[in-house]
């Protein structure tokens, strides 16, 4: 990723990450009543709050970056389609694998790439939020792996989702507010 030097560019990245977190919050929320296993409901219930807090922190940061509070940008079409496809997973195994093994590893990498590309001092408040998000998402992945093991769930098409995720370049689109 090339260096991110402009304030508006930082804001577009943060606003796009916010969109992803809101989508993940809504997806896990939508799945909670329609997933039979109690332990999966418990995990989704916990992670709804994790994603909400991530989106909240990012949304407060957009205000510091010269946009309204909770300014949100839809990602490029390919990534938006990937999130929608992930949200359509039906079985418990597919749902958990799709999000935690398919989408999150790539999103974590995108967060890391942003941290490496932005100015470590000027944009330190964004970095603090995003590094915290990375730690939280890694914890979520660990919890999902434990649940997969406990419930003996397969990985479904997670590898295919992850592979497709890797083919998408920069997810930050120009301009359109979500």
């Amino acid at each position: 990723m090339r260096k991110i030097t402009r304030v508006d560019e930082r804001c577009r990245n943060v606003a796009t990450f916010r969109h992803v977190c809101v989508q993940l919050m809504e997806t896990t929320a939508r799945w909670t009543p329609t997933t039979p296993e109690m332990e999966a409901k418990v995990m989704f219930g916990r992670h709804i709050w994790d994603f909400a807090q991530m989106a909240d922190a990012l949304g407060k940061r957009t205000f510091e970056l010269r946009q309204p509070e909770h300014y949100t940008l839809r990602p490029v079409d390919a990534y938006d389609a990937l999130l929608k496809e992930a949200a359509a997973a039906e079985s418990t195994a597919e749902r958990i694998a799709t999000i935690y093994d398919g989408v999150l590893p790539g999103f974590i990498e995108r967060c890391r790439a942003y941290v490496a590309a932005t100015d470590a001092i000027l944009d330190e408040p964004s970095i603090t939020i995003i590094e915290r998000m990375i730690r939280e998402m890694e914890r979520q992945r660990k919890e999902a792996a434990e649940l997969q093991s406990e419930l003996k769930l397969g990985k479904g098409n997670a590898a295919a989702i992850a592979a497709r995720e890797r083919t998408i370049g920069n997810i930050v689109a120009e301009g359109v507010q979500a």
Binding site: P33, W49, A52
Partner: protein
């Protein structure tokens, strides 16, 4: 399962039952449940199992609000997301206690009626008026007294768990009270939505409640019809949850001032 639709019961539209594991038998009436009405070991397991599965329904109701009302104010969505997290922890802690007492998932029949009724409502003020301001507030009233009884029969561990849960429920009721007031100040129609939701809850409940003259449940315990029950009112917790004095007096009047549970009694 991708989405939950609706179904009809005697002219009332309810939301379809959320997904449950095969080990759970879902019933819709207290008469089909197994509440033992005492504090024996099996009765306490049933009580914990019932609370655990009710909390599971609460996770689902809060989650559904997050998913189904994307245009709600962000701060309210945050409260609902936090509620989903709190209710998920409640499921976990009750499940831990259930296993400590030798119980297991699916040991007793469960109900999802709170979901079926609440999530049939198509607006967020109506949903939180039912789930938080009515059902959770009602649970808050009951739990203080229940903790006290558990301590008396020598089960302080379960009592401590219920106290901890009740602490969170106060927050859920309080945010609903605050948000309903705030939303109503912005748009008076919110009060109509809230009143309509509560009327719907009463109508829907009437289809499932114990019949006049009482009934006997699945374990042979006599259940009184609603008009012959003595409802608990936890005044201190209702104050913490920011019900007004006028609202508390009205609830006490409806309960006939027969039972007032103080915060100290539940501590």
């Amino acid at each position: 399962m991708s989405e939950l639709g609706y179904y009809q019961v005697e002219g009332i539209t309810l939301r379809e039952t959320p997904a449950r594991e095969a080990c759970f038998k879902v019933v819709y009436r207290d008469a089909d449940a197994m509440e033992f009405g005492n504090m024996s070991e099996i009765a306490r397991r049933e009580m914990i199992h019932r609370h655990m599965t009710n909390e599971m329904t609460s996770v689902e109701m809060a989650a559904a609000c997050v998913a189904e009302f994307p245009d709600a104010p962000w701060e309210l969505r945050m409260e609902l997301a936090r509620q989903a997290y709190d209710e998920a922890r409640h499921v976990q802690v009750l499940y831990r206690r259930l296993k400590e007492l030798g119980g297991h998932k699916g040991e007793f029949p469960i109900s999802t009626l709170e979901w079926n009724m609440t999530c049939a409502v198509d607006n967020l003020p109506g949903r939180i008026a039912i789930q938080n301001r009515t059902l959770e507030a009602g649970a808050m009233d009951v739990m203080g007294g229940l903790s006290l009884v558990l301590r008396k029969v020598g089960d302080p561990d379960t009592a401590d768990i219920l106290d901890g849960i009740n602490n969170d429920e106060v927050s859920h009721v309080r945010f609903a009270n605050r948000w309903i007031k705030r939303l109503a100040q912005q748009d008076r129609r919110v009060l109509m939505k809230m009143a309509s939701a509560i009327r719907f809850l009463q109508d829907a409940n009437s289809k499932f409640q114990i019949k006049e003259g009482g009934e006997v449940n699945a374990v042979g315990v006599a259940l009184a019809s609603p008009e012959n029950r003595i409802p608990a009112v936890n005044v201190e917790h209702r104050k913490l949850a920011e019900f007004t004095d006028e609202e508390i007096n009205e609830i006490l009047r409806q309960a006939g001032y027969r039972t007032i549970v103080s915060a100290e009694a539940g501590a």
